[in-house]
């Protein structure tokens, strides 16, 4: 299974489970997450969600480049469609989400963490909006980073594609707490449980308001992303960058 799904009382825990690929998101994993979160949104018994990654290295390395580079020219639309469903399910989830960032969160993996409500990370977690390094514009990523951090930090992170540390993320208020790997899940569960115990009507209405603040901006960014990505791909630059990336890794 690409995603482990576990119920613990009022909590639903989703673990990205492709450790050998640094938990990079392929279509099957995205589908599993969409189904689990949509079900949780409708399930009165689920009061909070935890997202984490398997293993000690990565929370989520982002999109699976093996999958994206094998896209057929006419497969692009359907592929983008699965991404839009993924973003909608996470960003509009009707239950609070805690991200337990157990390692690297890159690209779409960073976006996943940014769409959660609270973030707890191991001190060695690394964060990066890596798109520029593989020749892709970071459209939804720019929106999410800007929303959390403002323009000044967003621009630097998006244009350099550099790693930022858990320490920087804490200083900026992006990560609420840091915990050692041995204590990460325990703390994430305590944070999720704390949210699960809030009065459910107030939680539902508050989340509706918070989700609403992001809905228009994020959906506008996703629409823009489709045309920006196509424009990049039409030049051949991302394909060449990714080929270089795989060459370097061999």
């Amino acid at each position: 299974m690409g995603v482990e799904i576990e119920r613990k009382g009022a909590l639903l825990c989703l673990t990205l489970n492709r450790e050998e690929r640094l938990n990079a998101l392929d279509t099957d994993m995205r589908t599993a997450i969409v189904e689990a979160l949509n079900a949780a949104s409708e399930d009165d018994e689920v009061r909070a969600v935890i997202l984490t990654g398997k293993g000690a290295r990565a929370f989520c390395a982002g999109q699976d480049l093996n999958e994206s580079r094998q896209l057929s020219p006419d497969g692009g639309d359907a592929w983008m469609d699965t991404w839009q469903r993924f973003f909608a399910a996470v960003s509009q989830c009707r239950k609070p989400i805690v991200a337990a960032v157990n390692g690297t969160a890159a690209g779409a993996g960073l976006q996943l963490a940014l769409m959660a409500d609270l973030r707890v990370a191991v001190p060695t977690a690394r964060f990066l909006m890596a798109e520029i390094n593989v020749g892709l514009p970071a459209i939804a990523g720019s929106y999410l980073l800007q929303t959390h951090l403002g323009q000044a930090r967003m621009r630097e992170l998006v244009l350099t594609g550099r790693v930022f540390t858990a320490e920087e993320a804490s200083e900026w208020g992006l990560v609420q707490e840091t915990r050692s790997p041995g204590q990460l899940m325990e703390r994430a569960e305590a944070m999720a449980l704390h949210l699960a115990e809030k009065p459910p009507v107030a939680m539902r209405l508050t989340l509706e308001m918070l989700r609403g603040m992001m809905r228009r901006g994020l959906s506008e960014a996703e629409t823009a992303a489709v045309s920006y990505q196509s424009e990049a791909i039409a030049t051949g630059e991302p394909q060449a960058q990714m080929a270089r990336f795989f060459e370097a890794r061999r």
Partner: protein
């Protein structure tokens, strides 16, 4: 050739130096026109992949508006003036290459705004920045809009109403200066950052830059429209002209006493 700028390239990096050091690189209309033209030329030059903007001398990146120009404004000239800013800011916003501000010294008022529209800022402890417009009786509109995009409302209001200048440390702490280095390292660090960005894939770089402009376009238009209304009203009151005359009288007195 430029009268008020120095322009050069080093490898893939273009360097624009604001060059009126005797007036702390303050700008007037002709200098702003040159700056817009230089940026557009860099943007069109295929050999250039990143651009650094800096100031001549050791004291200032730029003091912003040359008050010698504005002190004699009437309401019609004030309205034109806002349109001149549209031209310069549109040139900056239209850059499809990364723009790095090497803050060799103070960046005040509109120079602070120009620095904030660069992508990455390198500075030192003496790189003071802020929006002192209120102190010259000039109403701020573009500055608060830019600050709010970067800092949120709380800091924007405090900085706009007090006209307080922040030192380099504070700017670094709140994320406005990305790299805080020793004064004699500002240029080298800016070159390092520019060199790194010059190696990024240019299509993705240009698309990100275009998207940043697109994301902020409604706010930009709104701030310009408000700027036009506010400047007209402020100059009609005679307050900015009086404040600037007072500023020059004060400076003259200091010179004579010195």
């Amino acid at each position: 050739m430029y009268e008020f700028l120095k322009v050069s390239t080093e490898g893939k990096v273009g360097i624009i130096t604001l060059n009126r050091p005797d007036v702390l690189n303050a700008w007037h209309s002709p200098m702003r026109r040159e700056l817009a033209a230089a940026l557009e030329a860099m943007n069109a030059d295929e050999e250039v992949r990143a651009v650094i903007m800096t100031g001549a001398g050791e004291r200032a990146f730029s003091a912003g508006q040359d008050l010698n120009e504005t002190k004699s404004f009437d309401t019609e000239r004030a309205r034109e003036w806002v349109e001149e800013w549209r031209a310069l800011y549109s040139a900056i916003r239209g850059m499809t290459k990364p723009l790095i501000a090497a803050l060799n010294g103070v960046a005040a008022g509109s120079a602070f705004q120009v620095a904030l529209q660069c992508d990455i800022r390198v500075g030192h402890a003496g790189s003071k920045m802020g929006q002192p417009e209120i102190n010259s009786g000039i109403a701020s509109t573009l500055g608060p809009w830019l600050m709010k995009e970067m800092l949120g409302l709380s800091r924007t209001i405090e900085l706009t109403l007090t006209g307080r200048m922040m030192d380099g440390e504070e700017c670094h702490h709140i994320g406005l200066i990305h790299h805080l280095v020793a004064a004699d390292q500002v240029h080298a660090k800016a070159m390092e950052v520019a060199g790194e960005l010059a190696e990024k894939p240019p299509v993705a770089m240009a698309l990100n830059k275009r998207r940043f402009a697109e994301m902020t376009q409604p706010g930009f238009e709104d701030a310009l429209a408000a700027g036009s209304r506010n400047q007209k009203e402020a100059y009609a009151s005679g307050e900015p002209q009086r404040m600037m005359e007072a500023f020059f009288a004060e400076r003259e007195k200091r010179k004579q006493n010195a």
